[in-house]
Symmetry: C3
């Protein structure tokens, strides 16, 4: 048995995976910025991060938790995407179709974070729609991989 794969498609996947993973890396920076702005930390020893050390230790600040949820939502969707997209590449999809899926997913995930976190763009339906686009792409690829390897 041999695999017959066009390697160009993996270069495209690597490109969008790098963008999506870099996007994940940005999230803890935004969380940290919120924590420092609002002086809200998770651990007693974190008071070392703020001169004077006047901080709150709590886990219920709405702004900090909003960014944390956006981060977690990225992990929930982007990490499965990279697995699914890699497996999808082995199902001999059309290259332009695959590129289109990867692009759309990337745009949808960036949109999700904007509609979740940006103060003037917090629209629940737009956030739901952008998350849903990513979800449908993941579900489609999972179904394709399942059928191809059935």
């Amino acid at each position: 048995m041999k695999i017959d794969v066009d390697f160009e498609i993996f270069g495209i996947l690597a490109f969008y995976s790098a963008i999506l993973l870099a996007k994940i890396l940005v999230m803890p920076v935004l969380v940290a910025k919120q924590r420092i702005n609002k002086k809200v930390f998770a651990n007693p020893e974190d008071k070392a991060f703020v001169p004077g050390g006047e901080v709150s230790i709590k886990h219920t600040d709405q702004d900090v938790e909003r960014y944390r949820r956006a981060h977690l939502n990225d992990l929930e969707n982007i990490l499965p995407f990279i697995f699914l997209a890699t497996l999808f590449c082995f199902t001999n999809p059309g290259i332009e179709f695959a590129r289109c899926l990867f692009q759309l997913f990337t745009i949808a995930r960036i949109g999700h974070t904007i509609f979740y976190c940006a103060p003037r763009a917090r629209k629940a339906w737009l956030r739901f729609a952008s998350c849903g686009v990513g979800w449908v792409i993941n579900a489609y690829m999972a179904f394709s991989v399942f059928m191809y390897n059935f």
Copy 2:
């Protein structure tokens, strides 16, 4: 140096990975169903999801949080599994043995969600056992990969 891998095993892994990743995709749907049933949401703007907009914004609802923990537990176990199983395929395991491990892991994870979430099947020991089966398979594969590449 060359790799000597039977590609059939990757087809088997792709099949079970697709099932497990599809299983992860189901979890946010179940969380959303709980949120809508109980009208408990995480963000103030989410009141747009319920006609009339009479919702609670809280993070302590036991049913919603139960499904969220089941989702997180999947991420904690299934994503490492796919990495470990992929690396495990390169250690020249027997195909039938590997298929057996992947099958058992998949069944254990589905069992975990049932014993965690289904109202009539919430048995702590069964949940612990099914999570433990997955954990032992992951640990065994991690050890095998470590020894093979030592």
Copy 3:
């Protein structure tokens, strides 16, 4: 198009990935140990785990939540690392340089858990530095993969 990859580098990556994934597997054991020590559980049915069943059902115990955050931080950093390091191997890096990055990341992540959880080593700046080392390595690899596939 063909790929030209030295497979030795994947053996090195497999070795460090196995260590890092085994490290993730240790975290729920530490969380469970805290839960049993302090008799603090997340679900009402979990009282079956403690003889006598005198447990607290809460989500705010500082020690339990500390270990849970350390676990989540591992998932946030180690899972993207394995994706990024795999893609990085395809950018024809020097083998010794790549090995050095993987080693440093592994040490940094183990350090992070020690500085987060060990009662006598809870230093916020050391935890931040070890997390930061891992973050910079991930960011560097994401940038390299992005530029290589641009």
